[in-house]
Structures are given as C-alpha cells and as structure tokens.
Homo-oligomer: 718 residues x 2
C-alpha cells in the first residue's frame, strides 16, 4: 500500500480546517463505498461532543426545509437494501454498526479532533482510488504523536474495509488503541436492531445485528501489527512507540448480510480475515484497478476549467461509488447512500438524473437501475391497488420492494409522473442498447402502467382527456389538473408502449385497452396559453404572483423556508424546472422562439429550492446557445455539494445532472431516443478549450473530443 | 339519596345488553360531567380484556376515516383545560387517573362484566339529574350477589364525584372492595404524567399527577360504610354480607387542579372529604336542583314524537353537561369531553353548532364560549405571525391558548373560514344580548382578524378580490380559490366590524385599513354559475363527477373510507353541507327558486361523511317547507350518537344542531342578527302536535308554543 497515488488537486478533496460547522459536511462529501457498502467520512474515534446513540422521533416533514438533527457529526454505515421499519418515516435504510470505531488514548488523554491539541491537520480523499488519508500531529503533555490514517472500502472485495494507522512519536510513549464495531448507533434517532450479538473469534471481534425488517448483518474486524487483547466486539492494542520509530497498525473489517448470495457468519468472516491479514499490502492494487477501469469508462476531461473539472470528478466519483454493479435489487438512493435524510428511498432521480450517465458510459450499471424497476413491478401493482386502481403505480419514494414509502401524502398521492418516468427510463435503456430481450423483459411494466393510466385519466364530454389532481416536478404547486410535464410523459409512455408492441409483434394489452391507450395518447391535454406557450398546468395563470421582493428578501435562505407552505402553494413560485424539462427531454416540444418565451416566463418564477433545478436550467440555456449564462447556472449546480451542502449526504441526482450538463448541455449531445446517430451541437463556455469523454452508443464505445473548432468521434477499442 | 327520580323512558338512556361491541359506545353515551369534570361511562371495575395502560403511537390522520384503538373499552376522566403535549398530535386534553376504579372480589372471583356470570343487568343514565345507575346480579359458586351501583358528578360542587354501592347477598359471603385512583392510564396511547405521587391522608387515598404541560391535578377518594384499610392510593374494605341484609358503601372523590382559582392539595381535599362523608345523603339534592334549573331554561318539549323527544333530551343533556358555566378559559371540545378522538381541541363547531343553543336559552353559558375566543386572541395573533401575516388567525383546532393544534396541514393551513366564523359568533352574541360592553370587548378581535384578511386576500387587476388556496366546510375539496362559504363569511365579518365601529363611534383600524376593508367587503368574489347558482368554489365544475355507483357500492361505509384521498380530492363529492350553509345562516343569500336549484345540485353530491352534515340539510329542507323530507334527514342526525356512534365521544356539534333542527328548522325561528323581533315560520312534521321551549331574546325570556295552528309567545318571568 505504499503505491498510493501522488495527490493531484483536480482529483483530491482536501480538508485542512477543523471548523466544527464543517465536520458534517466533510463526512458526507468524503463518503467512501463500493456500491455494496458505504461509509460516511467520519473520524474513526468520533467526537465527544457528538454522541451517536441519541434516540429521538424524527417526524415526517418537508425534507427541503427541515432543520436536520446531529449538528456536529453523524457517522453512517449503509448496505443498500438492508432496511428497517421506522414508526413514522416508514421503511428506511439502516445505519449499521460503525466498523471504523476506535478510541486512541495516550498519556491520560483521549484523541478528539475537537478538544485535542491538533496541528498540521489535513484530510484528503483521492477520487481516483477512493482512499481517504488523514494526517495530523497530536501535541501531548510529554511530546507529539504524528498520526497518518488511511482507509478504503475495497472495490475488488465489496464487503471489505481496509484501515491503516501509522504512528510516529517524538518521544517514547505508549498509545492504546481500543477498536470496536460500534452498535450503539441509530438511524434518524431510531434503533432498528432487534438483536445485537457481540462476539470474538480468535483475533477477530465484531457484532451481528438483526434489523426490524429481518435482515441480518455481521461485521467482523481484526487488527494487525501489535499484540491485541480481544474480547466480544473489542480489540485492544498497546503500542510502545519509541522516539522517531514508526509504528503501523492495519485493521481489516469484513461485512456480510443475509441478502448476500452467500451470507457468511462471524466464524467464516474471522477465518477470511486471518488469511487477508497475512498480506494486507496486497489489498490495495486490485481495488485501485477497479477504480481505474471505472474512470476509464466514465471519466470526462475538461481542459481550461479546473473548477469544473474538480467538481465533475467529485460528482462522477460519487455516482460510481453509489451504484451497485451486481445487484438490481437496489438502485441509488436520493442521498447516494451518504446520509439518512431521504431514508434511502428511490425517486424519479433514478430515471431522469442518474440513468443517462450510466447508460452512455457503463450500460451494465444502467441495467441494474432499470432492472430494479422491473423487479419491483409487484410492489407497484400493490400501490395501484391500494389507491383503488388496476395496473401498476410506481412509488414516489420506493422501498426495495417497490412499495410506496413516502410519509407525506401530497407527494405520494399526486406526484404520479414517476410512473411514466419509469417507462421513459426503460425505453431509454432499450434505445441505448438495442437489447431486444430487454425490450421483452420490460413489456409487463409497460402493460401494467398503461392499465393504471387508463383508469387514472378522466374523459370529458368534448373528447379531451385529462389527468386531474396531480403534482408535477415543481412541488410548490400541490395539486393541479393537467400538468404539462406529467401529461407529456404519460403520452410518451403510452406511445412507446404502443411502439414496443409493434416492434415485438405482440402486446399484453387487450385490443380494447390498446384502443383506449391510443385515444388517451392522442387526446391527453397539454395546457397552453393563448399564444401557444405551455402552461405548467391548467389555470396556472390563476396562481398568485410570488412577490419575491417582499416575501424573500434574504436569498441566502430557501424560499420554502421563509414563506409558509400555505402561501407557497397558492403562488406561481416554482421549486424547480418543470415545463423546462420538456424542451430538454423532447427537443421537438418547442421551437427556438417558443423556448425563449417559455424560459423567460418560468425562469423568474423559479426558486431553485430543489437541488434538481439549476442543472436543468444550465442545460436548457446551453442548448439555447447562451453558454455564458448557462455556465453561471452550471456553477450553481457545481456548488451544491461542494459549498457546504453535503452534510446530510450527496445530492446524487445533481451529480448525474452535472455529467448531463457537460455532455448534453455544453457539448450538446442528442438523446439516443431522439435520433439514431451520435450527434453533437456544442456550445462550450469561452474558457473551455476541450472536453473529452467516452460514449457508448448502441453498444459501441466512442471517444469524443469537443473543442470550439468542432467535434471528433473515434471508436474506442476497449 | 333515596329521592332519585322515577325512571321515564323519554328521559333515561337504558342499556340492557352486555354485548362487547356496545360497551365502548355506552361509555361515550353515558358520560357524566359538571362542565368542570367529565367521566366516561365505564364500569368501575374495568374489563380484564381491556387494559387501560397500553402505550402506542397514535398517528396524525384523518379522524373521519381512522380506525380507533381500544376496541373494547376506554375509560376517560377529563378536566377541560388540563392538557399535555403529545409528540405527534400536539396538545391534547389529558385522560386523568381514573377516580372510579375499584376491584370487587368474592369467593375467589373478581367481578368482570365480560367473564362473570351476570344476569338481570341494566344501566340507566337519567338525563334529568345525570345519575348513572347500574343494577345486576352476580352468580357466584355459593350464592348470588345483587349489586346496585349509582354515581354522579356533582353540579353543585363541580369537582365532586359521588358513588354508592349497594350489595345484597343471597347467602352469607365476604365481598372485598379494593378502591384506587388508577393512574396507569394513557391518552391516545401516551402517558402525559411527568410526576405521579400516590398518597394516603387518614381515611382518604389518592394521587397527585403533573402533566407534561405543567398542570397539577390531585384526586382524593374516601369510602364510607365499612372499615377501610387505607394505604397510598388504595382503600380496601371487607364487607361481611349476611343473607338478604343490604350493605351500603359510599365513595366520595374530590378533584382539584392547578388551574382552579383556589387549588387544594391532598390534605385539604382529605379534610373536605371527611366533612362530606358525614352526610353523603345530603349531596344529591343540591346537585339535582342545578340540573333542574338547567332543564327549565333549555328544555324543549315535543308532543307527538317520543323518538325525537328522547334524542333531543340526550343531545341537550350532553350540551348542558359539557359546557363550563364559570370558566371562559375553555370551550366545548369536538367530542364534548366524552372521548379523546379529537384531542380535546376546539373547532368552528363552537360558533356554528353550539353557540345558538346557549345564546337563545342560557346566554351566560354562551358568553363563556364567546369570551374564550376573546381570551385567546393572543394565540390567534401568534398563529397569524407563524404564517407570515399581521393580525389574528384563529386556529382550526384551538388549544386552550388559541394556538393551532391541528396536526394535518391541509386543514389548519387552508380552513381559514374559522377566523370569520369566530367574528360571526361574537356578533351573534352582541345581537342576542345587546350588551354594549361586550361589543367593546370584542373590538380587538374584529380589528385583528380584519388585518389578517387584508393581508390574506388577493387583488386582481380587474378590481375583484379573491381568497385563494382555502378549504371550505366541505373538507373533501382540499384547496380551492374563492370558497363561497368562506368568502361570504369573510364579507360578513368585515361588514360587522364596520358596523361595530359605527355603533361604538370608534375603530382600532386606521383610516386606510378601514378603506381597504370596505373595498374587500364589496369586491370579494362569490363564484357563480352562469345562471347565478353559487358555486362552492371557483371552477367547481372542473372537478370530476364522483361516480358513487361504482366507487361506493356499500353505503354502510363512509365514502372517505372506500375511496382513496387522492381520488376524493379531485371529485365533486362533498363531505358535508357547504354552499347550503349559506341560505340557512343568511336567508337573503338566495330566493326560493335559487335555493331549490342549489339544493338539487349539491345534495346528490353530498356523502354526509361528516356528522355536521345531515342536520344542516334537515334544517334547510324544513325551511324550504318540505317537513317530511326534512324529518327523514333529521332522523339521520338523531341517530348519529344513539345508533352506536358514541364510542369515541359525543358528536357535540350535532347535538347543538339537533336543537337548531327543532327550533330553527321545524319551528322556523329567524336569527336575531337578521331581524329585531322574535319571529317563526314553522313547518312541523305532520305527527308533531306541539313544540314548546324557552327563548331568550335581547335579554328577555319567552315561552314559545308551536303547533300546526300557529305560534304563541309568552313572557317567561323566571
């Protein structure tokens, strides 16, 4: 493990401040993971001021304007798919026992980044290999102790955590390391463990927990480098550090759960740890090799803009970390498994924000995401039935079974566009891969969601068809009729269902259903102003002007946090892009003049309270040809996680959006469902010299180079 | 106490069945109280199958369609104003330690109405004096024990509970009575007691509890009639019953709380009990005298309809029981303090359903209710400020401080008509009493609510004024613009505020505010169909037809329980009378033809899922002259509590509505705010021979007799 990469500021997130208000942000931002397992970037020894065992009742609320708990620090250990039942928040991904935990004591002091005399502190997460380095010096009564901690979650063995602690003392001292797998943790203040069994197996120690959803997880640790005194879930090491003599401790942890194809128990993990501990140095290279492959497939190089390059690297790192390459029983949760804010639920982010990045760079990962929707069709069927409809209604906040988990009715009841978004995502996969077997595989979803729409729409005597009582992407209009986005998506879903039937020469719908579906596809109303501009919904003009000047003087706060929900719901204020999603996703929706008119109408009404907002506006503006204005919006998107916003987890949809911003926005790539050939209409910011990246198009990989002079496309032979 | 009244079926609720599914209903229906203190009609010894100490998390939900907990039995002891803070449901009236509790043991058995061998069982609540009698025979291995239990909550000493237990054994046996004040109780599954101090003082025993809102309550009991062995919160009596020899035990309990003008501690209560126990027989007469006065003022006699007479008696009993005559710091909660379903909160029921009965029969009690609103103006100011408005916004569900307690945002955010309803109620009081000092007293409420409306409405460029994003009385339209009911009430509130200013020759509003208010009063839109019919709200015709035939085949269930809220919210289905409130409250709103048209339009859309619905339709129909149809709707209202519906408490608003049904509906009395003279336009059902009652009009009492031949009005000299 002496082969760590040489730090490169474009590829390293570096923390040099110990400011208490930044700790939690860095915990989110420095999250490490392997798709299978994710760890927030907390200090191994925790903070005395931030107990992790607090229990409290987190209420269902508007997450956008909620004030989160745990102001100082929140450790997080997540296995996507391992969930528990919260009494108020419904199913949530469980924060598992913390496998990094240890206390470090020396000369009667306990190491604490808050209260200790710490200097020369820095932390660096290398995005190229996902290794987190912490270096600092601890001033003690009788000398100084230099500490150099590194850790990574292995991409080669996704349940393996590798930690290394290097110490060097200025004068002889004894350091006591007390390592454990801390099971006194809660998820959103709730303890999900039905059973907790601490154990010791030879030199290994750890714990097995069973969640209230019946998942069992075992975490076993073993330390190497000095004699350890091991008891149930505890290993204690006394390190005699001579002056200037380096002392090295390695700690390996293995995690297994009952959802694994081959779950292993504490004994099996202990045996495997014994083998691995024989050669800990051998663990880094295969891990780094996987990361290298991921970057080769998905990396984007922007010449001329270090800021954008760095932010893009951070985004792609988290996308590649968060996605599970081998397991379509889970997707990527809204916080990228880097926090508990959205309970580990799966949203429309999956199809609209995440999927394009994977589809065009690593279709195998994309397939995990689309298969997740096919695999949860039964849950969607149950959702439809619960609302009194036939067919399938995809959950606004999906559990691992597809069952609706959103604790706020206005979203889960009314934000029905998710059901069309899912079909849109499946179709996107088919158009990107041309995989006919997959087209067949998705047919039940197309069929069942069509049945839902046929029951959900309303036919008017004048022959028009309406979709009433819905919420569009803009969540600041609570309930409306004929959301333009929703109805466009539904029409698209019905169209591709029809096309899929034609392509496969079969349909699971009856002739009568097919006829009805064709009618709805044609007659579902897209509301328009007299001059043809698309209204966000029926009677949108009847909403009140938001009067931002008086209501929202302090723009450092979110609009939703300074206005009452009641007033918000009756104004035209938008949380995020809504109608403007349409010209991006379906460029045929409007011509340039209409687009300009639409942008000019909605943009001033938009609060961007949602992290999904800026990037869409940036893309639309770029595709309108205004690269400079687009860039200033793009910068807002780049700042969302980097500028202190990662405390509760990563805004993973925005990460996917940032890739789209570069490739679909500035480089102007056309969607594979809109045209068959790979095509770009770039509008690069003036200071960008070149953007290069890899695109998979209909199964073939291409290397793209975009400059101000043009676009080059080369086959990629990988 | 041998002077109990001779039972009269028109004046007695009698239970003869021990069917388990009826127990809870009778507990609600047989609730006793003194305004100050209320006790559900539970068996003193409880039911083994119904533990009262269960803790669970009741969730904020739609109370109308919720499935309540405690299927078998729920004891309830309430002091209006003594509240606790529930973590989810906000402030709620606290279920206090049960002062009736005792176990009765004999021959190794414990008395239990479920499992015991009980025969000749009956319970009777006499509505004339509020005394509850239970008689039954308990078959034991070696004989039978006849039991005759009575109890009442004293109207003469409102914190006093008087219990009497008469036993008579068929053969010699020893009966052990174990009396306690059971503090192991919860409110909606939650324990609100911060401290619990059981104590004994001489022969008295009991408990002092402190709620999580800081209220302290002491309940002390003392038994009389046999030697008692007393310990902390327990008195045990061994009764040696000879064959055929009656044995009598009296138990007195005194309750005091920190909200009392002069709170008394356990010692003071014990001393008072000692005095009272010297002559328990003397306690009944003064109590019965108060009830007699209440009935003389407020009773209504219907000749020719025993069913209606009985149901009316039940309703008036609960109204008279529930209202506090001396304390305007509380009003009457939605369940009449006979259950926990609505958490002891105060709704618009107060002004629209309860107030008229009291205003026209016992204005002093009415004044407690109207003063409650004046006294909670500060809470209403805080509500307005919390939503970002000036002035005062009355709470949809008011706490004792006026602070909003509704846990569901759609109601508290949008059902703003309450704020106008409060002003309407105050004005009603002024018009009924002509009390100029009170007009002055209410001025701050008129002023502050006007300020709220001025900020809450929306001016359109065409000069019209709108009130957007509201919910009217019909809670099945979640959020609409220009609710006809709401806007009519707001216009009325602005009008009477203007009139009050003119009458008093002063206003607390600035000249500019007065000008604005006059403009809004004139221009606030009442939406109408092209032919002039009032729409419930803007674009009401755009809602979907409810299609009751397919959605609601089983009419024994509520519509709201069989349809998803999502679908309900986008249909025209009405929960209750909405537009039809208007021709009742403001007869000038529409002429006979318009009324017929309006009734014919809305009635078929109305589900009557709300208990507030039938009675309004009955009244409107009676005033339309269709007494027979009106009577069939009236019968539905009469059945609401009597037909098994009282399990979670009394539908107290409907009780007030039933009085209005007789007096305002069938007897056709005009409102005192509509005309100065007492005037009736009766439409009696054919089988009613005569209705007689007492009406206070502008401070003078009148005896009214209504027959098919006409109306006689005589001065009442009481």
């Amino acid at each position: 493990m002496e082969d760590y990469l040489t730090p490169d500021p474009l590829w390293c997130i570096t923390q040099t401040s110990l400011a208490p208000e930044e700790t939690k942000h860095y915990e989110g931002l420095l999250t490490q993971g392997s798709g299978y397992l994710h760890l927030r970037g907390s200090y191994e020894e925790g903070l005395a001021a931030a107990p992790q065992d607090e229990t409290y009742m987190r209420m269902p609320a508007n997450v956008t304007v909620e004030v989160p708990r745990h102001p100082r620090s929140k450790a997080g250990t997540y296995l996507p798919g391992v969930t528990g039942q919260h009494p108020l928040l419904r199913e949530e991904v469980v924060n598992l026992p913390n496998p990094l935990a240890m206390t470090v004591r020396c000369q009667g002091r306990t190491l604490d980044m808050d209260s200790g005399d710490i200097f020369e502190f820095s932390r660096t997460l290398d995005l190229r290999d996902g290794v987190l380095h912490r270096r600092f010096c601890w001033r003690l009564p009788l000398g100084e102790l230099r500490c150099d901690f590194t850790r990574f979650v292995s991409q080669a063995r996704p349940g393996l955590i590798v930690q290394r602690m290097d110490f060097c003392a200025s004068s002889p001292m004894t350091v006591t390391l007390d390592a454990t797998v801390d099971e006194t943790v809660t998820t959103n203040g709730y303890c999900h463990f039905r059973t907790t069994e601490p154990c010791a197996q030879g030199q290994a120690f750890g714990v097995t927990v069973t969640t209230d959803n019946g998942d069992t997880v075992t975490l076993m640790s073993r330390c190497q480098g000095a004699p350890a005194s091991v008891s149930a879930n505890r290993g204690t090491l006394e390190l005699c550090c001579g002056a200037g003599v380096p002392v090295r401790i390695d700690r390996l942890t293995l995690v297994s759960c009952s959802r694994d194809p081959q779950p292993r128990d504490a004994q099996a993990l202990a045996a495997e740890l014994e083998t691995l501990c024989a050669a800990p140095d051998a663990l880094y290279a295969p891990h780094a090799a996987v990361w290298q492959q991921l970057w080769e497939k998905s990396g984007v190089i922007i010449r001329g803009d270090d800021q954008a390059q760095f932010a893009l690297n951070v985004s792609l790192y988290h996308l590649l970390r968060a996605a599970n390459r081998n397991d379509s029983r889970v997707a990527v949760c809204a916080k990228g498994f880097a926090g508990e804010a959205y309970f580990g639920h799966f949203f429309w982010d999956t199809e609209l924000y995440l999927l394009p990045f994977f589809l065009y760079t690593n279709p195998a990962i994309a397939r995990s995401l689309t298969r997740f929707r096919i695999g949860t069709l039964d849950g969607a069927r149950e959702n439809a039935a619960a609302y009194g409809y036939p067919g399938a209604k995809y959950a606004w906040e999906s559990s691992v079974t597809g069952a609706e988990q959103c604790p706020n009715w206005q979203y889960c009841d009314h934000e029905v566009h998710i059901t069309a978004d899912v079909v849109f995502g499946l179709w996107h996969d088919w158009k990107a891969t041309g995989d006919r077997a997959f087209l067949e595989e998705m047919l039940p979803v197309l069929t069942e969601t069509t049945r839902y729409w046929l029951a959900r729409v309303q036919h008017h005597p004048d022959g028009t068809v309406h979709l009433n009582g819905v919420m569009g992407p803009d969540e600041y209009i609570c309930m409306c009729n004929d959301s333009a986005y929703t109805n466009t998506m539904v029409r698209y879903a019905l169209r591709v269902t029809r096309e899929a039937g034609a392509l496969l020469g079969k349909s699971l719908l009856t002739a009568n259903e097919q006829e009805q579906a064709a009618y709805v596809e044609e007659h579902l109303v897209i509301p328009r102003r007299e001059d043809g501009m698309i209204w966000q919904c029926e009677a949108f003009d009847r909403y009140e002007d938001p009067d931002f000047t008086s209501l929202w003087p302090d723009r450092t706060k979110r609009f939703g946090a300074v206005v009452s929900q009641e007033r918000n719901y009756r104004t035209k204020a938008l949380k995020q892009a809504d109608v403007l999603m349409l010209p991006y996703l379906f460029p045929d929706t409007m011509d340039a003049r209409q687009l300009q008119q639409t942008y000019d109408y909605y943009y001033p009404l938009t609060t961007h309270d949602s992290s999904l907002s800026y990037i869409i506006h940036a893309i639309v503006k770029a595709r309108m040809g205004d690269a400079e204005e687009a860039y200033s919006l793009f910068e807002k998107a780049l700042a969302i996680d980097l500028d202190g916003g990662a405390a509760e987890g990563i805004h993973i949809a925005n990460c996917g959006g940032i890739w789209q911003g570069v490739v679909m926005g500035f480089c102007g790539m056309d969607w594979c469902y809109c045209r068959d050939d790979l095509h770009f209409t770039p509008h690069l910011p003036a200071h960008w010299q070149e953007v290069s990246f890899r695109i998979v198009w209909h199964g073939a990989a291409h290397r793209i180079r975009v400059t101000h002079d043009g676009v080059s496309v080369e086959e990629d032979d990988q």
